[in-house]
Each structure stands twice: as C-alpha cells, then as structure tokens.
Symmetry: C2
Subunit: 218 residues, 2 copies
Amino acid sequence: MTPTITAFEASPDRGKGQARDMRVRWALEEVGQPYDVRLLSFRQMKEPAHRALHPFGQIPTYEEKGGLALFESGAIVLHIAQQHAGLLPRDAHARARAVNWIFAALSTVEPPIVERETAWFVERDKPWYAEHAPMLDERVRKRLGELSARLAGHEWLDGAFSAGDLMMVMVLRRLSSSGLLQEYPNLHAYVARGEDRPAFQRAFAAQLAVFTAAAAKG
Amino acid sequence: MTPTITAFEASPDRGKGQARDMRVRWALEEVGQPYDVRLLSFRQMKEPAHRALHPFGQIPTYEEKGGLALFESGAIVLHIAQQHAGLLPRDAHARARAVNWIFAALSTVEPPIVERETAWFVERDKPWYAEHAPMLDERVRKRLGELSARLAGHEWLDGAFSAGDLMMVMVLRRLSSSGLLQEYPNLHAYVARGEDRPAFQRAFAAQLAVFTAAAAKG
C-alpha cells in the first residue's frame, strides 16, 4: 500500500525544504514507508479537482489507495505515526504527550512565525513595516524563549525523538534565514539535531530533486 | 477518575465562552465526563508552578490523577475523544478525517482569526491600522469562503457531529462580534447548530458561572 502525497511542482522556497510536504516526507522516511508524489502547479492547486481533496487549495495531501484522504500536515503526520512504529512512544501517557507537542508546534509556535513571514511578503513596502516588523519579531521571541526554557538540558522535547519533535523542528526551521533562532542556542542545536537524522536527509534530498528538475526544465 | 482542568479566574471575555477552556469543557460534556476546575489568576499563569504544566503559561491544562498532563486544547480534546465514545466515528478512515478537521480548525482557520484579534488589541491606536485591518479581514474571508464552499449543503463537516466540528465551531465563534461570519450564512448557521447542542449549553453555563462569581466578588 504505497500512499500518494502532493507537493509543489516548483517550490517557492527553491528547494530549501520549507514547504509542508517536507513534514510528511520526513515522517514517511522515519517509519520506512515508500510513497508516490503527485506534483501540482499553483494553478492546479486552486482547481476543483484538487479542492475536492484539499478545501483550502494547498499542499500536501495524502491518499491511500482505495480510501483514506487527508489534507492537513499535522493530521497526516499523526496518521503515519499511528500506523507505523517509530514516531510515537508505546506508553499511552507518553504517546498523548508526544501528540500534545504536535499541536503545540502547529497551534502555539507556528502562528506567530507565519504571521512574521506573511508580513514580509505583503507589508514590506508599506510605510509602517519598519515599526511593525519588530513587534512581530517580539511575538516570535516570546514563544522561542518559553520553548527554549522547557527544552533546557534535554535532547528532545519529551524523552526519545517523536512526531512532536519532527513537527517542532519543521516549524522552527521556518526561521532559518531570520537570525532569530540563533538567539536561542539550544533551539538552534535542537533543529540541527533534527536535520542530522538520516530520514530528514533523505526527505530533504527528495524534495530538492523535484526543485532541481523543475529548474533545469526552465 | 475525574480530570482537573485549568481556566481563567476572571475570563478576559467576560464569560462569552471564548477562552480555550470552553473547548475542553464542551468535549467533556459531550462524552459525559465530570471534571474539576482549578482557577488561575493572570499572575499565577506565569509562575513556575503553572509553567511546569504549561510551558507557554496559558490555560487550559488537563490532568488525570496520578499521571497524564496535557496543555494544548487540540491535544486535550483529541485525548478525550479517543478515551470516550461520542466525539469520533468508529470507522478508522472517518476517524482520521475527523481528526484532520481538528487540525484544519487550529492550523488553517484559526491563525488568521487570532491575527486579526491581536491586531485590534495592539495596533488599533497606530496610524496604519485603518489600512492594515481590511487586509487582515480579507485573510479571514479567504478561509471562511473556502470552508463555506466545503460545508455547502451539509450539517456537519464530515457525516455526524465530531470533535472536528467541535473545534471548528469554537474557532469560528471567535468571530462572533466581528460581523464576518454573517457574510457566510451556512457557516453562521453551522456555529448556531453547535451552540444549540445541550453539551455546549452546559459547558457555556459552567464557564459563565465562574465569571459571574468573580464579578460579584469584585
């Protein structure tokens, strides 16, 4: 049963692994599950055929032959982690806490990071951006400081590496080019530890290959 | 085994049920699980004792005697739904899709709504707010339009009422005083259907009673 995921035909991040299919690729690599990829143009993502699969017209989606279709990266990673060994602890309490960290990454840490990114895209030519941008940086720093304090002295968020760490590392990686992560050395090292995992490396190479091929085609 | 949740001693929304403990109260009421509430002042939420439970210094938290402690409303609602019948379908695929909607509510629909709220709190006295606010409204409308199209003709998001609907209704309710929800009559009716459920009513009354008691005490 090889699942099919969707990804950008030409990722806007130029192969830096910031698109959300990277989260799903990494999870699939961690559990050793091969997968197929269907590439979509920006136009195709907004067409009814894809909207039927993803109501918000984005990537990734996840389809199992003959049945299940999902469209939120958090739900897809959780589903993969529940179906295979390797991404969630066996102990029921530890398992629930790992799932808690998936939600913390997506619901508490990621929103101010996306807000900061979005402002750069849509407000950077506005006269107010110089005053607004530092406010958005502070909002990100607040969460990073709290997360850094919790992680202090630990390799991963709660015992062994889990789907919660996978999602948190992916969310924090969005700050790679911002300089903000470096202000919290233990978070910076945490992200590097995630990126060093062989499964991350394989997933990263796979998404980069898509971008490189698209760039070569012009 | 009665779990304990935390909530605001005096909710900043003055009992309108917008604080995130309402999500957990509603889930517990849907499955018929009694619960205890520990009330916290704003000062207590930021103290080390609470930070040990919730690294980001917020409410709600969820504790089972002798063990499990969680702090993200999404993870808590999912945990309750997995432990009890009533909030997730039995069929494995339908169950995964319901969980997908919890993530969609928290990760795709809620962030632009919170961003719009936050701007009102921190930017409304800034000279740029008059130009920025409509941009934030549009970001919310984009998601509402897509969600409205998906819901078209259906009572709930995917078959029977689930934890996915519970979370989506709670997220959309944040727009109650904005007028934006009324632009999408089927979403407005969807939220009203959620609010009409007896379990919602009981949860709402419980959180309102906390606020009323706090206000009477002065």
